[in-house]
Amino acid sequence: MNLMMLLEMAAEGLGDRVAVGPLENGMTYRQLYEQAGMAAAQFRETDGDTVVLCDESSPAVPISLFGAAWAGMPYAPLNYRLPDDDLSSLAQRNTPGVAITDAAGAVRLSGVERLQTLTRQQFLEDPANGASPCTAPDWSMDPDDIAVLLFTSGTTGAPKSAVLRHKHLVSYILGSVEFMGAGADEATIVSVPPYHVAGVSAMLSAVYAGRRIVLFPKFDPDDWIDAVEREDVTHAMVVPTMLARIVEALDARGGEPLLGVRTLSYGGGRMPLPVIARALELFPITSFVNAYGLTETSSTIALLGPDDHRLAQYSDDPSEQRRLGSVGRALPGVELSIRDDAGTELGAGEPGEIFVRGEQVSGEYLEAGSLLVDGWFPTRDGGFTDEAGYLFVQGRNDDVIIRGAENMSPGEIEDVLLTHPGVSDAAAIGVPDRQWGEKVVAVIVLSGQTTQPPDGVVQSEIQELVRQRLRSSRVPAHVVLVDELPYSDTGKLLRRELREQHGHLGDSDC
């Protein structure tokens, strides 16, 4: 198995269809295949063992991803937004290597030993760089070869390299995408950066489905709406913060619905219910898909499909409405198991840690080896399933608030906070408490229309709201108003940052 097998099939079946870029002069599948062969030839001639990509989205991304697979080298996209020192140290861990980067990146990486840099411009003008292009399909078919190395997001601790082998990614694509399943008029806009697992899987899925890729490197909600209309985009994947901003921008334009988008998928973090509820109105005929997955699982392992979204929107049945807050059910070929701290499997409705098993699940890091036990990967995410198998993710286990030996999921409290009409975004965190070990702090953003109420009013209203809906232990001891919550550029709420910012509300002596 090799990722190149997917591109070879697309080039054979849909050679003249545009793979990447505008319909008029984009790169076809056959051209992408040829460019990958040229890139592979150059990669093989370097002294590098790894192909590093330190750049925003451009056609160099699919060419280097497939070129690396052809050459038999792991492809390692880096987060170019990191500070210089962090970036250099991650690059260093992928040497000897060859890096594709922009002009600024070439300067930033110049101090890294045994890393040859190519600018994106050089690479796109001449991917072979004098080498004789690979044309015969002579890539390795060893399923255990490493295809992609992704640094896990690192919101806590030092980043680790997640290992995705060809067998994991190919299994994911074969298990979830129909070959040439896309119509000739379909196009998907890729807004996630290349170093995110969804940035990798988006390329592979689109190539195998035969769906044209529209690259959208610098996210801005108004530009996104314009690009969707200009490029006849039919499919989109966004992270929650992006959707929140798109919804705001559409409302600012007068709330005119976007009708061209057939499928809008979202994932990569917790979606606030009010955002998705408004999005369902602004995209009235769009199929919504909520995808849940991790870097270590080759992207999506569970999804909530279009019918479930509309059912929840229009249903009077609370259990169907509630599913809008779930991530749906496991993909075919993927098994889920909820377990307690002792490893015992739990039943429906009982919260525990989410374990996952399947051919697409890697669960392996370069530094720590494989975490799989009998094929099962402990996700570190907490959650539960309902009677019908719908999975509710409650957030990272590391983020659980422990008050008086009682484990509380921040997500459960946040869902309640977000039901307040004046609240547009909310987080619940734990800070040290002398008596209880930890106490709950609610950090909330008031929605634009709400005028700033007098001191104390918000606090008592919020506390009363939580008291009515949840056990009294969940009632926030403090309610803090902020202008915005801190998110990573891929939409993950940075809880560690929040705990640092608001830790002073806790007792300093414990």
Partner: protein, 101 residues
């Protein structure tokens, strides 16, 4: 006889068909166009499919045996039809999963 295991690739010797094993294990008589398939890259196309095994194999389609113990994916299409132990394989139905990335 060839050994079917996930990831193994085979080619026809009577048409352009190539397949990769998605599911399966153990030995089986794998034919295309009525003639035994060989490991990919180890044979040449020298004949033609037999008339009773010439309905063709389509690129990108999955083929399964009735017992659902073997699944093959056609990585190249051709004019011969594939069969296991003499029984023609059927095209597996397309999945209906929505695009998630």
């Amino acid at each position: 006889m060839v050994e079917l295991k996930p990831g193994a690739r085979f080619q026809s010797t009577v048409c352009t068909t190539q397949v990769i094993v998605v599911k399966g294990d153990g030995e089986a008589e794998l034919t295309c166009g009525g003639t035994a398939m060989v490991a990919a890259g180890t044979g040449e196309i020298t004949g033609e499919p037999a008339p009773d095994a010439a309905e063709g194999t389509l690129l990108g389609k999955r083929y399964r045996n009735p017992e659902d113990t073997v699944e093959l994916l056609a990585t190249k299409g051709g004019s011969g039809s594939i069969a296991i132990d003499g029984a023609a394989l059927g095209v597996a139905e397309a999945k209906t999963l929505p695009a998630s990335d």
